[in-house]
C-alpha cells in the first residue's frame, strides 16, 4: 500500500532525512517513532504529497506520488500534527468541504460525512462551530476529515497528542477498528511507546534522518522493552553521527517554521 524508496529531503544545506526506505502492506498499522526533529513529520509530508522529496520516490495506494499525485492524494487521508481546521465553520460543513475536495461524488457526500462523524463520535456536535469545541473534539474533527473519503491509506501525525486518557483510548479504538474491520493501512507517529504497543503491529524508528529499526513488534520484544530499543537505537545513532545530530537539530527548527 505504501512504498518509500530511498527518500531524501534536504532543506538548503540541511538534510532532514536520508535514504529512508520501507514498505507497508494493506491493513497494517505501523507506528512511526523517533526523537523530536528526527524526520517523522518530513517523511509523512512527503508521503502525503505536501513536500516533494529531494531524492527517492514514494508510491501510495498504488500511485507514484511524482507521476500521479492526484490519485495518490485521493487514496490518502492525512491528519497533520495541527489539525487543518477552519474555526469559523460548523463541523458538518467542514467535513463536507473536505469530502468535496477529495472528489467524493455528490450523491454519496451526505452519507459519507454522516458515517465519518459517527465513527469519530461527533454526531452531537455536528452543528457546532469548530471554534467552540474542546481540543479533544477538534482532534476528532481532524480525524473525521482524514477518513471521510474512505482512503485506503491513513497518515496520522501524533493523533492522540493533547488528549485526555479516555479520549486517547477512544481514538486508539477507532484506529484499530479502521484497520481491522475496514482494511485501511495506517501509519501513525507518536511519542507514546505504550500507544505503539497497544495498536501497532510494526515499528519504524527514525533517528537523525535515518531509518534505524523496521521490525514487527513481537520480534522487537525479544530484544527487550520498546523503551530500551528506542533509547539504545537513538543513542547509537547519535554517537555515530555527532555532526548529523547538530544538523538535525537545525533542520528540526526549519521544519517547524513552515508552512
Amino acid at each position: 500500500m505504501i512504498k518509500a524508496v530511498a527518500l531524501t529531503k534536504r532543506y538548503g544545506g540541511l538534510t532532514a532525512i536520508r535514504g529512508v526506505s520501507f514498505e507497508v502492506a494493506k491493513g497494517e498499522v505501523v507506528g512511526f517513532l523517533g526523537p523530536n526533529g528526527a524526520g517523522k513529520t518530513t517523511t509523512m509530508r512527503i508521503l502525503t504529497g505536501y513536500l516533494p522529496p529531494t531524492e527517492g520516490s514514494a508510491v501510495v495506494g498504488g500511485f507514484d506520488l511524482s507521476r500521479n499525485p492526484r490519485e495518490a492524494k485521493r487514496a490518502t487521508g492525512y491528519l497533520p500534527e495541527t489539525p487543518p481546521l477552519y474555526p469559523e465553520m460548523r463541523v458538518r460543513d467542514y467535513v463536507r468541504y473536505v469530502a468535496t475536495l477529495h472528489d467524493v461524488p455528490r450523491a454519496q457526500r451526505s452519507s459519507k460525512v454522516d458515517r465519518a462523524l459517527g465513527s469519530c463520535g461527533l454526531e452531537k456536535v455536528a452543528n457546532r462551530v469548530i471554534r467552540t469545541l474542546s481540543k479533544g473534539y477538534r482532534q476528532r474533527v481532524g480525524l473525521a476529515q482524514a477518513i471521510v473519503h474512505e482512503p485506503a491509506v491513513l497518515i496520522l501525525d501524533e493523533p492522540t497528542s493533547g488528549l485526555d486518557p479516555i479520549q486517547i483510548a477512544e481514538i486508539r479504538e477507532l484506529i484499530r477498528r479502521l484497520a481491522a474491520e475496514e482494511g485501511r493501512t495506517v501509519i501513525l507517529s507518536t511519542h507514546i511507546l505504550a500507544e505503539v504497543e497497544a495498536i501497532c503491529q510494526r515499528v519504524l524508528l527514525i533517528a537523525y534522518g535515518q531509518l534505524r529499526v523496521d521490525a514487527r513488534l513481537d520480534a522487537l520484544r525479544e530484544q527487550g522493552s520498546l523503551e530500551q530499543v528506542f533509547v539504545r537505537e537513538v543513542q547509537s545513532a547519535a554517537s555515530r553521527d555527532a555532526d548529523a545530530a547538530a544538523a538535525m537539530a537545525a533542520a528540526a527548527a526549519v521544519v517547524e517554521a513552515e508552512p
Partner: protein, 258 residues
C-alpha cells in the same frame, strides 16, 4: 470545477464570518455616499450660479453625468485602492498562518483550482460592492436623466479595476504568512499604480513616460468612468489579472517545495 466552487464558497462564508468585510463595505459605502451627495450639492449650487450669470453656453457641458457621476466614481477608485487590498489580504496569508493550507495542498486539488477559488470568492464580494455603488447613481435616475449606458460603463470599469487590484493582492497574499503585511503592501502597490501616470509627467524619456503611463491604473479606468470603453483598457485589465493570478499560482506551487 466543483473544487473551485467549494473553495470559493468556503472562502465567502468565512469572509462573512468575521466583521472585517461588513466593516470595510460599510465604511466604503459611507464615504462613497458622502462624496456622491457632496458633489451633487456642489453641482446644484454651481448650476444656479451659471444660470444667474446667464452663461447659457456653459450649460451644454455642465451635465449630471460628467460632473457628478464620473467625478465621484473617480474618487471611489481611490477608496478602492484601500478597500480591495484589505479584503483580499487574507486569501492565502491566513491559511498559511493557521496551517490550514496543508489541507488544500494534500488534497487532490491543483494550484490553479486553489487560486481560481480564492479569486472567485473575492470577485463575488467586489461584484456586491459594485452593485451597492450603483445605488447612488440610481437615485439620480429617479429625479433627472443621466446616461444609463455611460453609468453602466463606469460601474463596469470600477469592477474591472477592483478585480485587477484583487488579483495583484491575491499574489501578494500568497507570498506571506502575515495578513497585515499582505494588506499594507497591497495598499502601497495599489497607490503606486494609481500615481504612476503622475510620475510619468515628470519623466524625461519618452519611453519611460509611455511605460509609466501604461502601468498606471488611472490611465485605464479614467476613460471608462466617463463612458468610453476602450479595448486597450480592457486588454490592460485582462493582462494584469491573468499575469497576477499566474504568479499567485506559481507562489502556491512554491509552497509545496519548502
Amino acid at each position: 470545477m466543483s473544487h473551485v466552487l467549494a473553495i470559493a464558497g468556503r472562502e465567502l462564508r468565512s469572509i462573512f464570518a468575521t466583521p472585517v468585510a461588513y466593516v470595510l463595505i460599510s465604511v466604503y459605502m459611507l464615504f462613497a455616499g458622502f462624496i456622491f451627495f457632496a458633489s451633487l450639492g456642489m453641482f446644484l449650487v454651481q448650476l444656479e450660479q451659471i444660470q444667474a450669470l446667464g452663461m447659457t453656453n456653459l450649460l451644454e457641458q455642465w451635465n449630471l453625468q460628467d460632473i457628478v457621476i464620473a467625478q465621484s466614481f473617480s474618487t471611489f477608485a481611490i477608496f478602492l485602492a484601500f478597500v480591495v487590498p484589505l479584503l483580499a489580504m487574507r486569501a492565502f496569508a491566513e491559511e498559511r498562518a493557521t496551517g490550514s493550507i496543508e489541507l488544500l495542498l494534500t488534497s487532490p486539488v491543483t494550484s490553479s483550482e486553489i487560486v481560481a477559488g480564492k479569486f472567485l470568492a473575492i470577485a463575488g464580494l467586489l461584484l456586491l460592492i459594485t452593485v451597492l455603488t450603483g445605488l447612488y447613481p440610481l437615485l439620480l435616475f429617479a429625479y433627472g436623466d443621466p446616461e444609463l449606458w455611460q453609468t453602466l460603463a463606469g460601474l463596469q470599469t470600477l469592477l474591472l479595476y477592483s478585480l485587477t487590484l484583487a488579483s495583484i493582492c491575491c499574489f501578494i497574499s500568497a507570498l506571506t504568512r502575515s495578513q497585515i503585511v499582505a494588506g499594507l503592501v497591497g495598499v502601497a502597490v495599489a497607490l503606486m499604480l494609481l500615481l504612476m501616470p503622475f510620475a510619468a509627467e515628470s519623466s524625461q524619456s519618452e519611453t519611460m513616460k509611455a511605460v509609466l503611463r501604461w502601468f498606471g491604473t488611472s490611465t485605464h479606468y479614467e476613460p471608462g468612468l466617463t463612458g468610453q470603453v476602450r479595448s486597450e483598457d480592457l486588454a490592460y485589465f485582462g493582462i494584469v489579472i491573468f499575469a497576477s493570478l499566474s504568479m499567485a499560482r506559481a507562489a502556491v506551487d512554491s509552497l509545496r517545495w519548502r
